[in-house]
């Protein structure tokens, strides 16, 4: 026993207590080799919004989709006029979450700081390429903040309160924030390869597409309150730069470009990859039709509204409101344009070997009381979904390896057309760009000689249709400031299609299913209250 006491006492006390931590390394190890530092970048790429694995989608916040389940953010908060500083919706996978994005931005800043400190461990080629990628990623995260909140604090180095430096920053202006994003994109574009990258890394095209999008947003009425045409011109020029890379083209088929077989086709500019089973996508289970062959398969979160369905033109290219279009309100789903059939599941559509019927008494009877996940509008969507994946399989094993595409070439064409139309009017290049998109879906070109305003209307509708369910509409309706006002898309009632079959005769009656509520000031998200509480230098957006 004395021996035990002796043994214990003779140990050097601190040595005895040393237990090395498992599963972690130091910054020196992380940045000791290119291979290790690549792991750090792998984590930053992983911070891009994981849109496939969230059931709160921004199309539900906007007028494209009515939420399947009543409790989802879109219906219970955004379209109930309920956005407030204590309850900021953040989009799929916390796309524009304030703290989340600053955590991501910190990762980028730490990378820059550490590779500078350990520069000798890396080759010049690796360093140039990787710094450019991370610069692009930082611009991406800032763009998420910019398009939600406007001007934001610009943090360029990792903050450290242990060395006495400033950690409380005020918001930069809109222009300063845009300039910061543009500078990062330019720096990234200068050093990134222009060829299509099928590994999922950033390219020159991605950097320019991001810059063009940020500029388009900044030129739009929400941010460009003085309607400065030069801002539009800048956005047009940047989108034109992407077109002039001559790397991208429209994929032959509108529908299948989103499926895993066509990952990184020539239209894809920047996308997030998925790898089942642990890193697969859940989109089919979250968004597909609820009941298939009588069984609840999915959560049905893609529910096209009647207003979206009505925006699809006829296959002759005319809108259904045009008396010459041939549209029959009692036979609404015939002779519509191709993208309608590639996007919308309506009463009588086939899905996974079943005929989906949303009519009264149908197998997915329209749920007018919002008591279940079943469609509240009479529609589901099929776009971006892989029909070969059953909903329950998707929910439980995330079997999809389809990319989520952040930027594709069709958007570049439409963004160019929009910016160019606003900057100089509907010139030939505007027609060329929008008609290229339309012709892929077998639509005739737009009538020559449109006014700038008519062209604007045409481009906005084209953009809504072409990019539906791609996480774009919510940003567009805000930057265009069409959420509220006389025809505000988020103040008008939402309709669904009630279909009654009597003696084999179908009758179609649009019924009001929901009244949207939205306020003009909500076009900008409020800075979360807890951030204002912590950083007194932050100033809230007006109206909150």
């Amino acid at each position: 026993m004395g021996l035990l006491l002796f043994t214990l006492n003779s140990c050097k006390k601190d040595d005895f207590l040393t237990v090395p931590p498992k599963g972690s390394v130091t910054n020196e190890v992380t940045f000791s080799t290119e291979g290790n530092a690549d792991l750090f970048i792998n984590d930053i790429y992983n911070q891009l919004p994981d849109v496939m694995n969230d059931y709160n989608l921004t199309d539900q916040y906007a007028d494209n989709s009515f939420c399947g389940a009543a409790q989802l953010t879109g219906q219970s908060l955004v379209r109930a006029g309920g956005i407030n500083p204590s309850n900021v919706p953040t989009g799929p996978n916390s796309e524009w979450d304030w703290e989340g994005n600053y955590a991501k931005i910190r990762k980028c800043n730490v990378f820059f700081q550490q590779v500078k400190q350990f520069k000798s461990n890396f080759s010049a080629g690796w360093l140039k390429q990787r710094v450019a990628e991370v610069t692009f990623l930082r611009a991406y995260f800032y763009t998420m903040l910019f398009t939600a909140y406007g001007g934001v604090p610009l943090i360029k180095d990792p903050l450290d309160n242990s060395n006495g430096t400033q950690i409380f920053y005020p918001r930069a202006t809109l222009d300063e924030t845009l300039a910061f994003i543009e500078a990062d994109c330019d720096a990234a574009a200068a050093d990134l390869p222009s060829a299509i990258d099928k590994t999922g890394r950033a390219t020159k095209g991605a950097a320019l597409a991001l810059k063009g999008w940020a500029e388009l947003f900044a030129a739009s009425p929400l941010a460009n309150t003085a309607n400065d045409a030069a801002k539009w011109a800048k956005a047009a020029a940047t989108n034109k730069q992407v077109m002039d890379l001559n790397v991208y083209s429209l994929f032959s088929d509108y529908a299948t470009q989103f499926l895993s077989a066509n990952n990184f086709n020539n239209e894809t500019i920047f996308a997030r990859q998925y790898a089942p089973p642990n890193k697969g996508g859940h989109a089919e289970g979250y968004n597909g039709p609820v009941k298939v062959k009588g069984v609840t398969q999915a959560w049905g979160n893609f529910q096209p509204t009647q207003s979206l369905v009505d925006d699809y033109s006829m296959d002759n290219g005319l809108p259904i409101t045009d008396p010459a279009s041939g549209y029959n309100p009692q036979d609404p789903y015939t002779h519509r344009e191709q993208r309608f059939y590639k996007t919308v599941i309506y009463d009588g559509s086939s899905w996974q070997g079943d005929i989906i019927t949303t009519r009264i008494g149908g197998n997915n009877e329209i749920d007018l009381g919002a008591t279940s996940d079943i469609t509240n509008t009479g529609y589901y969507a099929r776009k971006r979904l892989d029909e070969s994946i059953l909903g329950q399989q998707s929910l439980n094993t995330s079997p999809s390896s389809a990319n989520f595409i952040y930027f594709r070439y069709a958007e570049i064409l439409l963004s160019y057309a929009e910016a160019q139309n606003e900057a100089v009017g509907p010139d030939a290049s505007v027609y060329a760009a929008i008609n290229l998109v339309r012709s892929r879906s077998a639509l005739p070109g737009l009538t020559p000689g449109l006014t700038q305003a008519d062209m604007r209307t045409a481009i906005r509708r084209e953009r809504r249709i072409e990019l539906s369910f791609e996480d774009k509409r919510w940003f567009d309706i805000r930057r265009w400031k069409i959420t509220t006002g006389a025809n505000g898309v988020l103040t008008a009632p939402e309709y669904g299609m009630k279909i009654v079959v009597t003696n084999g005769v179908f009758s179609y009656t649009p019924v009001k299913i929901f009244t949207n509520t939205f306020f003009d000031y909500q076009n900008w998200m409020p800075i979360p209250q807890q951030e204002l509480d912590k950083n007194k230098k932050l100033v809230q957006n007006p109206g909150y």
């Binding site: 207590l17 500083p85 409380f168 642990n278 069984v295 009381g369």
Partner: protein, 1066 residues
């Protein structure tokens, strides 16, 4: 000596024996045998001259006069001789006595009794619990002390009080039985029903878990066999916890297991069979009520069509179409009544002066609310003590158990969530027996078709100790080596093998468009089975060297204990999973063939601690007591150079009842002591109850990276910004107490006032670090909080006659804390309504509900989006209508937002907890009740059962007819809509309830058969009925919720248990 004896003799009428001779301690029930201070008054050495008389064999039984329970190990001696024996485990003895001899019965904690033989062959004796408890010994840190000389605040629980209650997890047996314990049991699920134990309330932000110690070693006691426990001590003040250094600030619970008793082998059987039912099951609306409420919601939502038309409503009423318009009550459908709980224990004990043994085997079975949930627990105990030499005692003990837990693959919380959510129009089972689904989930299927989870949790607590008396008088050295396999309570690591077989859950959806109806099959969960095995292993090694010295010099009693304790814990975990099973064979080998079908993961960790403990005691004339103790403690948790801390304490006591002026003038005072202590204790960095390791490091952690080039990658990320200066939390504890016994035990009081200041409190910076910072930081020693309160226990014992005795014990605990300094941003700190600093931790903030908006509050009340009249503060949670909740605009800025929040509730942990234990003996009957209650706590209700249709859910029965309508403006709940509006689901005073309750926590009614009936077939036999959570009264809550369940009512329901049992020995 003679004078003393006479003074204390108390003559009772029948049976005739003498009370009051201070007894010789029977020290065999404690493991630290030789360090024990012996009773200072020995039996008077009376010379007996009548040894020439004939001898007779006297047999008999010794029982506790209070509760009639038999007392094993009672010393039975012939007065004035060396002849003696000890009672067996059933309390019986047999001894050869001169027929005119006198037997002296003595036992720890009881007054001694003498009984003249007078030729009788049978002598049954009942011993009174010593009114003065002069010789009661209590277990304290690293040793034992006489209760009279203790200057610390320690409460004790007698094992007999909890041994036979129908409770599996021992943490659930303690509530209300000792002052200073604040205990909440939030779940009744077999295997996961452990209570949250706080000693003297909340002392820190980081965590409040006390240190658990079994037989001197940090260990989990909650799964020990209740019949293998000898006693439980709760260490409360600094003087008591300082020997535990950094681990002691939240208090310590010491459990001591049973040792062998000298005597012939005694085989005992104890067992019970009981039935469990939930204390409260919320009830939901009928199908018809649901339909009516849905229609009302549609009207409120401005949807012109009713959800259910007249024909459908009729079907709900007449139940003519129960598969489509059902009247289902899913909770009642799945919860089975009268679920079995049973326990069987066989023990053997005995021994000689040099070798004693105790061994026991126990089996426990507990069924859950549904068939797939049940647990089996097997406990084995072996405890051997031998005097290897005249100066050497060796003890070896093993407490081991296996707890096999069986569950559906779906967790109980998910099942109850789905059962509460399932709308009543969907039957749980269709008329043809097929199970239904609701929103893709099947309540019944999740229980019966989801597969299983099987947790096998083995543990072995073993220790070997040698106690050597040294050549210096009073000095001994003890070494303890303990090796445990099992959960480590401090670091919350597991020791478990878990098998989880998840199956696709088939369910059926009725298709009413066909005639007859068809039932389409769907699958919930994965489309093919998966199987997972998890291995958790925790090994702990503890080494202790204990030097102790006890000696009296004249009027001075001196004691010293020094301890070196080193401890290391290793834990590992490994998990392997296979998916895509073609055939459902639940073995890893048979999973899908693709590499992606197999995943596995694992990690490991370790802990090390070392501590140097001392305790020095000095007593003068047994009246003036002084004590100093403390620990120099080191832990791996802190940066090198900052790993050690010193935690001293001091205590003093004054035994006034030993003073002459009391003895002479206040003879009704049997015992009176005042005592006080002050000292320091430490606490580990914790968050959410878990100890946070390596807070001083800024590590980069490995994790998942993006998918690049088609494959998942690894990633590395900055985990946190460490705080290299982190050190212990430090608690400064003060305690003042007094103990008294009056009128021979008619009244005993023990009362303590405590005050604690926790400084250096480890808190996170997230509430003040700007969101732009981008990374979390290690905890910082920046918080200060105080905690104060009262522990009180009062006891009254009275024998009305020899057949009727009543004991009543009351315990009362009050603890209230106050945050003095924490990280708080200006938004709350600058707002007096919202400031957390200066308020109790856990104070509930929210909106102050004023009532409902009325139609007169709106310009256009009938509009779909009505506008509030000018001057009425506008809520910022979306549009409001008449019948929605109106909140107070406390800052008068015309809008309701976060700045209007204020205190709407006290903490959810009660500030007051009390127990009342009447204990009645009438002839052969004994009755034990525990009435227990709490006060000063609030609970925020949420979820389906207060928010109709939340998450497409159902509505509680209470909500029907109790929601706001233009004609029912005084309703319990706001107007209903298809989904509850964000305005109404804000955390508000409207759903805050006073959570006070009174419970008949347990009862035990026993009957002991007399020896006349039993003859010699059985040595002793008692039968009893018992119950747990028998009746609960929540005066301030209309909703059906157990007051200990969380506000969402989705924890597995607490159980009411009624049981019958037997205690027998052979």
């Amino acid at each position: 000596m003679k004078k003393t004896l006479l003074k204390k003799v108390l003559l009772t009428k029948k049976p005739r024996f003498y009370l009051g001779i201070p007894i010789l301690l029977s020290i065999s029930s404690f493991s630290f045998a030789n360090t024990l201070p012996k009773g200072s008054n020995n039996i008077p050495n009376v010379t007996l001259n009548a040894t020439t008389n004939a001898t007779v064999t006297v047999t008999g039984k010794v029982t506790d006069h209070t509760n009639g329970q038999t007392l094993p190990g009672v010393s039975v001696k012939v007065k004035g001789s060396d002849i003696g024996t000890v009672t067996n485990i059933d309390g019986t003895f047999s001894i050869q006595v001169p027929d005119n001899g006198v037997l002296v019965f003595s036992y720890v904690g009881y007054d001694s009794a003498e009984a003249p033989v007078k030729g009788k062959a049978n002598l049954n004796i009942s011993l009174q619990v010593s009114a003065r408890n002069l010789n009661e010994v209590i277990v304290v840190g690293y040793g034992t002390q006489k209760k009279t000389s203790v200057t610390a605040a320690v409460s004790t629980i007698k094992a007999a009080d909890i041994a036979m209650k129908p409770v599996v997890n021992l943490s659930n047996s303690l509530v209300g039985r000792a002052s200073g314990l604040i205990i909440t049991q939030s779940s009744g699920e077999p295997g996961f029903d452990g209570s949250n134990i706080q000693i003297r309330g909340t002392g820190s932000i980081g965590g409040t878990q006390p240190l658990l110690v079994v037989d001197g070693v940090p260990r989990d006691f909650t799964r020990l066999d209740p019949n293998s426990i000898a006693n439980i001590s709760v260490l409360k003040d600094a003087a008591a916890v300082a020997p535990y250094g950094v681990a002691g600030a939240n208090g310590v619970i010491l459990v001591t297991t049973k040792q062998g008793k000298t005597g012939a082998p005694v085989l005992s059987y104890n067992g019970y069979v009981g039935f469990q039912n939930p204390t409260k099951v919320p009830t939901f609306v009928t199908g018809y009520q649901y339909a009516l409420m849905r229609n009302e919601a549609n009207i409120n939502d401005g949807i012109p069509t009713p959800a259910y038309d007249a024909v459908q409503l009729q079907k709900f009423q007449d139940q003519s179409d129960p598969d489509v318009y059902a009247d289902a009550h899913p909770l009642q459908d799945i919860i089975k009544p009268n679920r079995l709980i049973t326990y069987h224990n066989l023990s053997l004990t005995g021994g000689s002066d040099n070798f004693k043994y105790f061994t026991a085997l126990a089996y426990t079975h507990q069924d859950g609310m549904w068939d797939p949930t049940y647990l089996d627990k097997y406990n084995a105990t072996l405890n051997l003590t031998a005097n290897a030499t005249k100066t050497t005692t060796v003890n070896f003990s093993v407490n081991s158990w296996i707890e096999d837990q069986h569950f559906p693959a779906f967790g109980a919380g998910s099942i109850l969530n789905q059962a509460q959510r399932q709308a009543p129009y969907v039957p749980t089972l269709y008329s043809n027996g097929l199970n239904s689904g609701y929103i893709g989930q099947s309540t019944y299927g999740e229980i019966y078709y989801s597969g299983y989870q099987f947790n096998e949790n083995p543990a072995t607590q073993s220790q070997f100790s040698i106690d050597q008396k040294l050549p210096v008088k009073g000095l001994s050295l003890k070494g303890v080596v303990s090796f445990d396999i099992g959960p480590d309570p401090l670091f919350n690591t597991q020791n478990s093998v878990q098998r989880i077989s998840s199956l696709p859950i088939p369910f059926y959806i009725v298709d009413p468009t066909t005639t007859p109806y068809t039932y389409n099959k769907g699958l919930q969960g994965s489309q093919s089975p998966s199987f997972e095995e998890r291995y958790y292993q925790t090994h702990s090694f503890t080494y202790q060297g204990i030097l102790s010295y006890q000696r009296s010099f004249g009027k001075s009693d001196i004691g010293f204990t020094g301890v070196v304790e080193a401890r290391r814990v290793k834990s590992e975990q490994f998990t392997a999973k296979r998916i895509d099973y073609g055939l459902n064979i639940d073995e890893l080998d048979f999973g899908g063939p693709a590499p992606a079908d197999a995943t596995n993961s694992g990690s490991s960790s370790g802990q090390k601690q070392i501590g140097y403990v001392y305790r020095a005691t000095y007593a003068y004339a047994k009246k003036y007591l002084f004590e100093a103790s403390g620990r120099y403690d080191g832990s791996y948790l802190f940066a090198p150079g900052k790993r050690f801390g010193f935690f001293p304490s001091f205590g003093a006591g004054w035994l006034l009842s030993e003073e002459k002026f009391i003895k002479d003038n206040f003879t009704w005072i049997d015992n009176l002591k005042i005592r006080g202590s002050y000292g320091q204790s430490g606490a580990y960095p914790r968050s959410g109850g878990n100890i946070l390791t390596y807070q001083y490091l800024s590590p980069y952690n490995l994790g998942g990276g993006a998918v690049l080039n088609g494959a998942a990658t690894q990633g590395i990320s900055e985990a946190q910004q460490g705080n290299p200066n982190i050190t212990w939390e430090r608690a400064k504890k003060s305690n003042i107490g007094f103990e008294t016994t009056l009128w021979k035990g008619l009244l005993s009081v023990e009362a303590d006032y405590f005050y604690e200041k926790r400084s250096n409190m480890l808190i996170g910076t997230s509430s003040v670090l700007p969101g732009e910072y981008g990374i979390g930081q290690g905890l910082v020693n920046a918080g200060i909080m105080t905690n104060h309160g009262i522990d009180l226990s009062i006891r009254s014992s009275h024998s009305f006659s020899n057949d009727l005795r009543l004991d009543v014990t009351g315990t009362f605990t009050y603890a209230k804390n106050k945050l003095l300094q924490t990280f708080e941003n200006s938004a709350t700190y600058d707002n007096p309504n919202r400031r957390q600093t200066g308020r109790p931790l856990g104070t509930q903030f929210g909106y102050q509900a004023l009532g409902y908006f009325s139609t007169s509050d709106f310009v256009d009340p009938a509009s779909t989006n009505p506008t509030l009249k000018p001057g009425i503060p506008k809520p910022s949670f979306g549009p409001v209508h008449p019948g929605d909740l109106q909140y107070a605009d406390l800052n008068n800025d015309g809008k309701i937002d976060a700045n209007d929040q204020t205190v709407i509730g006290r903490t959810q942990t009660p500030e007051i907890i009390y127990g009342l234990e009447p204990h009645l003996i009438f002839k052969n009957f004994d009755l034990d009740l525990l009435i227990q209650g709490t006060a000063n706590s609030d609970i925020q209700l949420s979820n389906y059962f207060v928010f109709p249709f939340l998450g497409s859910g159902s509505a509680s029965e209470l909500a029907f007819g109790n929601t706001w309508t233009p004609t029912n403006t005084n309703a319990l709940y706001p107007r209903i809509t298809g989904t509850p509006s964000a305005n109404n689901t804000q955390t508000s005073s409207w759903f805050m309830r006073n959570d006070a309750y009174i419970r008949l926590r347990s009862f035990e009614l026993g009957y002991t058969f007399s020896n006349k009936i039993l003859h010699n077939a059985i040595k002793s036999l008692r039968v009893y009925a018992a119950g747990q959570n028998v009746f609960t009264w929540t005066p301030n809550i209309k909703e059906i919720i157990d007051p200990e369940n969380a506000g969402a009512n989705q924890n597995y329901y607490q159980q009411r248990v009624l049981s019958i049992g037997v205690n027998a020995s052979f």
